[in-house]
Symmetry: C2
Subunit: 130 residues, 2 copies
């Protein structure tokens, strides 16, 4: 039997599409930063946690697990004593990370423009006095 | 007086950098989808809500407000009866949306690969019996 869903074109705009879920993992609060960090090379867990400033141990572990399940991150346990666990990007993860880096570089480069927009918005929309 | 922070190079990896906040708005659960939808043209609120399948009225309003404050989305109230509110991208918003579209098209195009990775992962990591 053919699943009718096989004929649908994937769309992140559809709430049940697999691509929506992947997008949430890739662009979630920590997923994008983890992928972007790994774009620079392999990381051990604690080094990655230092790089992704502000993430908790639990959130980073969950983030990496979701990205590993999606086939974007590879987790390798090396047979050293103690065992060393290293995270790298898969080929698909590297393609996704490259797109994220482009987005990040654009945002980092336009921070001043965003800051000005925020100041203007806050002047025009003063917070109500409580 | 010069603020020492003015000398820092913006980095999304730093938890207090403005660019981190913008990235969260742009890639948050609904921000990315709203920007990508607006890449197709102007939307009124309810039409945008139908396009971004699954978003609540409250979350979409909050998302659009954050994007407007960041200078990525323009909100225009037209003097019709009843007033018509339309959302469009600013020039910077259009540049950000274009990067997001590239990322989305990559993910939508590789959904089968992600699905296979998930099935393999789930076979190798069976859920514990409760």
């Amino acid at each position: 039997m053919t699943d009718p869903a096989d004929d649908l074109i994937p769309s992140v705009f559809a709430r049940d599409c697999t691509s929506r879920g992947v997008m949430n993992n890739v662009t979630g609060r920590w997923g994008g930063l983890a992928l972007a960090a790994l774009h620079d090379g392999a990381f051990r867990f604690n080094a990655l946690r230092r790089r992704v400033d502000g993430v908790s141990e639990k959130m980073l572990a969950q983030t990496l697990q979701a990205l590993e399940r999606d086939g974007l991150v590879h987790r390798e346990v090396q047979a050293t004593i103690p065992p060393r666990v290293e995270y790298t990007l898969t080929p698909l993860g590297a393609r996704v990370a490259a797109k994220l880096i482009e987005l990040i570089e654009l945002l980092e480069g336009e921070v001043d423009q965003v800051q000005s927009a925020r100041e203007e918005y806050d002047r025009e929309h003063p917070a109500p006095v409580r």
